[in-house]
Symmetry: C2
Subunit: 233 residues, 2 copies
């Protein structure tokens, strides 16, 4: 039974890594489609999201089976519940890639707004956050997870800067409004992907250090102990 559990757990990990790669690729391709005004690529991202949705259901089923048949406790239980949340976060990241691809489709038909240096940079940072958060989860690397939490501030700054730049574009050239709104929407979707990556990193820190960083990263020192979670199972 114990051997079976270890194998099942490894399978869940492998599938989460795979799903993380798909999500990361979806973000990369949707941004590429936007920047290159490539409608075919945008449509491909939308079609491929089906695969991410199917994986979510498969992983979720595997996790439920693990819980029901193996009844893990303590660290294993926490790890598996975190995997369930991360699975859900990755599926949502796939949805944000679809949103970006939809904006790319609209953006491809109109007059382009002048290139924004910060949008590719934001996309790159967001992808790295996603990859690092998954990597941190798989290797229980809380230092890497904490670095992701720090990057989230960079993303929030970039988003504000991009939106302000696009508002200035609309003021200067009102006919570009729809195009500029497409890019604002993309920026906000990237911000949400960064938030979801941050959620994943928070789970990792929590598991690895049994501390609660969620909801109070900025307000409290990171060494605050969670009050009611440890040592009960």
């Amino acid at each position: 039974m114990q051997r079976h559990f270890v194998e099942e757990l490894e399978a869940v990990k492998t599938n989460l890594i795979k799903m993380g790669s798909f999500a990361e690729e979806a973000i990369a391709q949707s941004i590429k489609a936007l920047l290159e005004r490539n409608a075919d690529l945008a449509r491909e991202v939308i079609t491929r999201d089906e695969r991410i949705n199917e994986m979510e259901i498969e992983i979720d089923d595997a996790i439920v089976d693990l819980l029901a048949l193996q009844q893990p406790v303590a660290t294993d239980l926490r790890f598996i519940l975190a995997a369930m949340k991360i699975n859900n976060d990755l599926e949502r990241i796939g949805d944000h890639a679809v949103n970006i691809a939809e904006s790319a489709l609209q953006y491809a038909v109109g007059k382009p707004v002048r290139p924004f240096a910060d949008l590719p940079h934001m996309a790159q940072t967001t992808k790295e956050m996603l990859r690092d958060s998954i990597d941190a989860f798989i290797h229980a690397d809380s230092a890497k997870a904490r670095a992701v939490l720090v990057s989230d501030d960079t993303i929030d700054d970039l988003n504000r800067k991009i939106v302000a730049g696009l508002v200035a574009v609309i003021r200067a050239e009102p006919p570009l409004i729809e195009q500029a709104l497409d890019l604002i929407r993309v920026s906000r979707n990237l911000e949400r992907v960064a938030d979801l990556s941050t959620n994943i990193a928070e789970e990792v820190v929590f598991i690895a250090e049994a501390h609660i960083v969620k909801h109070n990263v900025e307000n409290k020192p990171p060494s605050v102990h969670r009050e009611s979670a440890s040592g009960q199972s």
Copy 2:
């Protein structure tokens, strides 16, 4: 042990209902703050979100304890895992109320955009979806949950209509751009709340009917059986 389990489960349900009410109130108050240009109320929503965040952690801890100590299987396990996801969704709804409140704060200092008949309507429908989805979960009422799924289309239509109206406002009166963008942001946040309520309703339908409606509501008939979930535990 079984008696203890039933009591613990009831406590989780009661707390989820309470958290659902807080989330619903947060949305209602944030919209009120926006429409009445009431900055104090907006700040109150932001402060009160702390309570929702704390509840999420408490409920999550209670669920982990339930899983670890009682090791439920079959229907009980599915119910508890759904409760965990719903808990997470409600916390995110609280975050969207904070976003709306932040937009309300910005909106309160500028010149108002002419009243939009559809925004209060959208807010009302969204609140009803949230309440109905929680209610459907508590009473395992899949008919009510299915009604929530249908409402989500209404919300998507309203969002498109509101955004198009605001784009027209910016075209006609470019100096109103920041105000109009605040309202677009509010509309998109309400749309996300409706999506999260839809997630909750999907969980309810799945538990109640052991069908998968997630990811294919529109494409397939609602009676499609989930392939690998039932009868294994």
